[in-house]
């Protein structure tokens, strides 16, 4: 740690470093930010931008960046405050970390922070004609300003960027597509966008020339909503982002709040949470298998995946009382102990899925058409995966060792024997195979966990003593877990308010799918329109997780 601090102060002498938190906090002025960022990336090798969180502190507006060095696993975070609260300008880092492109558009959408030199400064979630930036503390929520509009939103054919000229920021208009391009609209209602996602695809015959992602059709403003809820209430929203990683997301928020409160969670509770996470991952990968096969027209394989997923949902049903949105983890542990047959059910599900996986491979993996459709298609290099902060199975298929369970172990993962599945090809087939192999690893973890839970006895302490009123001290925390589609992060900033029902000042969810959507254009370009569907299915994102 001290070593890292030394390196940072050597490379960037004008930066303040605060070492009081879990990770070093750098405070950088906007004027020198781009220069500092370049040094961070090139000299100190912080090659991945984990999260970009816009924050309104009331008196100032700014951005907190979380960077990681993918080789050493070091994490730092950087705070950049805009000079003017009413017209906030911050220099873009999208030229250094490609993932910042969409992340900065999100921050612009929510806070009105204009990123100077950003190539495409459009809103990301809200309509073009939305008045105001909703997450600013001075936002006017008057419904007359933003009524429910009944007219169609105009196509976003125009974009703009802001550049510095003679010390002043100037707006330059641009176009998304040229006039003579053949643009087709995929979505928001389309059989294989896996939800209400919309791409505008420029075609040359069957070849995709450019994909413009238009998001926000299922945007619920979860981050805004969380600011008006108490901490236990915010837990519910985590399950409504990536519903295929409901347990895992909720686990992450619980961990983050527990970290802030300093609560020690009972071993049994953490074990149960971990098992639920792995069951969730298993079910998510089964669904992903089903969707990938169906998007290529193999409808039968889809049913195979769904059939086995039922077993897992039955387990959830018996223990949590619900099949989707289980609301099982809570601050300090889990809400109830497991069903008496839980261990038997889990073992049975593991056995059945393990047996049926041979069938999946026979039906689909070895099929010559499937192989031709996936091998060498939608290539994503390791450099791009890191640059675009692609984590999860899609990142590991490109050769990144990005499994949070291994890089920054949380929960009880360091007690378990499992392997991080990686491949080097980076094509659709590799992404598909990583998921299939991860299912085997999940089964392995689950079997070990079953033994451990059996040793703990039929019943035990499943929740820690937690204060009735959850009040976080002033400060900010960030917690990452490995969700089924990549690293899921939660950022909480609390103002330490002493009122009885404390609400978070800022809660940001760094969803893995948000980053995944960033590589659609990169991977699909110069492939066929049919490959667009296969590639997006193999990248495997869940739309509510992008839109939040």
């Amino acid at each position: 740690m001290a070593d890292l601090q030394e390196q940072i102060s050597k490379a960037c002498p004008d930066v303040q470093i605060d070492n009081s938190g879990q990770w070093p906090l750098l405070t950088v002025a906007n004027a020198t930010w781009h220069e500092t960022a370049t040094k961070l990336k090139e000299q100190l090798n912080f090659d991945q931008l984990m999260a970009l969180v816009g924050v309104d502190w009331g008196d100032a507006i700014g951005v907190i960046y979380y960077f990681t060095n993918t080789q050493t696993g070091d994490i730092i975070h950087v705070k950049v405050v805009a000079d003017d609260r009413d017209k906030p300008y911050i220099h873009t880092v999208s030229d250094l970390w490609a993932v910042a492109n969409y992340q900065e558009r999100e921050a612009y959408d929510f806070y009105g922070i204009i990123f100077v030199n950003h190539p495409d400064m459009r809103r990301f979630f809200l309509r073009n004609d939305w008045v105001g930036h909703p997450l600013r503390k001075d936002y006017d929520a008057n419904p007359e300003l933003n009524p429910i509009r009944l007219d169609d939103e105009t196509n976003e054919d125009y974009t703009c960027r802001y550049v510095e000229k003679d010390g002043k920021v100037v707006k330059i208009d641009g176009k998304v597509f040229e006039d003579d391009e053949y643009v087709i609209n995929v979505g928001p209602q389309h059989p294989s966008t896996h939800g209400v996602m919309r791409y505008r695809v420029s075609l040359d015959g069957e070849i995709v020339k450019k994909v413009d992602v238009v998001s926000g059709y299922i945007h619920r403003g979860i981050e805004k909503l969380c600011e008006s809820l108490t901490y236990p209430q915010t837990l519910l929203y985590t399950e409504r982002m990536d519903y295929m990683a409901a347990h895992i997301n909720r686990h992450c928020l619980c961990l983050c709040i527990e970290k802030a409160l300093g609560i020690e969670v009972p071993h049994r509770a953490e074990l149960i949470r971990l098992m639920m996470d792995e069951l969730m991952r298993l079910s998510s990968h089964l669904l992903s298998y089903g969707c990938l096969t169906m998007d290529q027209g193999a409808t039968t394989a889809f049913f195979y995946g769904f059939r086995d997923r039922e077993l897992i949902y039955d387990i959830f049903d018996r223990t949590c009382g619900a099949r989707m949105s289980m609301s099982y983890s809570t601050i300090g542990g889990v809400v109830a102990d497991v069903h008496p047959d839980f261990i038997t059910d889990v073992r049975h599900a593991c056995d059945v899925i393990e047996k049926n996986m041979k069938e999946y491979h026979q039906l689909f993996t070895g099929n010559v058409i499937a192989r031709n459709r996936m091998i060498g298609v939608g290539l994503l290099s390791k450099e791009d995966a890191i640059n675009y902060a692609i984590t999860g199975p899609s990142g590991r298929a490109s050769g990144c060792h990005c499994d949070v369970r291994k890089t920054h172990p949380y929960s009880l993962y360091d007690e378990f024997d499992f392997e991080e599945v990686t491949r080097t090809e980076g094509d659709s087939m590799a992404r598909y195979m990583v998921r299939m192999d991860e299912m085997v690893q999940s089964i392995k973890i689950l079997r070990q966990a079953c033994d451990k839970l059996e040793q703990e006895g039929a019943q035990g302490e499943y929740i820690a003593k937690v204060p009735k009123m959850i009040k976080l001290p002033a400060g900010h925390w960030y917690q990452q877990v490995e969700a089924s589609r990549g690293a899921f992060g939660v950022y909480i900033e609390s103002d330490g308010d002493s009122k009885p029902f404390q609400k978070p000042m800022r809660m940001h969810f760094q969803s893995p799918c948000f980053n995944l959507i960033g590589v659609v254009d990169l991977t699909c370009r110069d492939n066929m329109i049919a490959d667009l569907i296969t590639i997006t299915a193999s990248i495997d994102f869940v739309i509510p997780d992008i839109d939040r």
Binding site: L203, E206, T300, N367, A370, M528, A530, D531, L532
Partner: protein, 358 residues
Amino acid sequence: MFDFSTVTMWLDEFLRGLMPSWLAITTECILVAVLLLAAYSVLAMIYIMYERWVCGWIQCRRGPIRVGPAGSLQIFADVLKILSKEIITLWSTDKFLFFLAPFLVVLASVLTFACLPWGKGLQFIDFNIGVFFIIAVSSIGVLGILLAGWSSNSKYTLIGAMRSGAQMISYELSVGISILTIVCLAGTMSITGIVEAQADGWFLFKGHLPAVIAFIIYIIAANAENNRGPFDLPEAEHELTAGYHTEYSGIHYGLFYLAEYLNLFVVSGIASLLFLGGWMPLHISGLDGFNAVMDYIPSTLWFLGKAFFMTFIFMWIRWSFPRVRIDQMLALEWRYLMPIGLANLVVMAIVVTQGWHF
């Protein structure tokens, strides 16, 4: 074996006795047309149910079970539904072509349907270039699909139609070549002639290796010709929502649907005609008792049974394979199927001239 021509002859004489000969022929034509269309629609309904059950069975599901005993009335509900649905006419479509397109597709499928050998002496159209006629009229369908895609004035349908045009025209070559291989073996283009030639053994068994290769090429190409999976690119649901018929609704959509299922029957029927002896019972030379028993099964049942068996194979393929991509599909045809088919035709010609077949 019962010969249906006795019935038709009797009817013909009966009608001629009642009315002048031109009127008798007109009446017969109308009767035939009514029968044909009735058989067409009934078979379509059977086929839709058949597909649902087979698909359900393959996919570990039960298929339709709610309407009527074991879901048997489901299809009537579906037909009623599609008949009563609103036909949505779009702005800025080419109305005439838009409405013409589904009828062209159905026309092609009815015309080929009429050529099938339904049973001994039971055939709607039978003349000496029957097979040639089948190949000719089945090509009208692609015109309907192209028109549908073009006149809808939508980008999805246009891509679907273009794919379909490229696909059907390419694969028609392979279908044609494999049919030609069998014509070469049979020595006639007449449908009755081809069936009669298989009295002592079906061509699939008689024709040595070339017939088997032709059979496999036919199965692949017919699947593609039919726009069925793994070659269902023109309507690739997951890419183009519904391809060329995206903008159609109500009975117009129903007509495309109908034609698709009937085309499935037609290609199965042609496969059974060319390779499995049409309505000809299974005869094994030498086993006279066995042959006599086989003759007791009515010829129509033989034909339908073979067609349904072939359909099952088509469905099996449809529900097992993922979809190919357009470039892979064209490469398969032009680089593999057609050269192999042409070589196979030459081999078949040699086999026939040398008399190596059974």
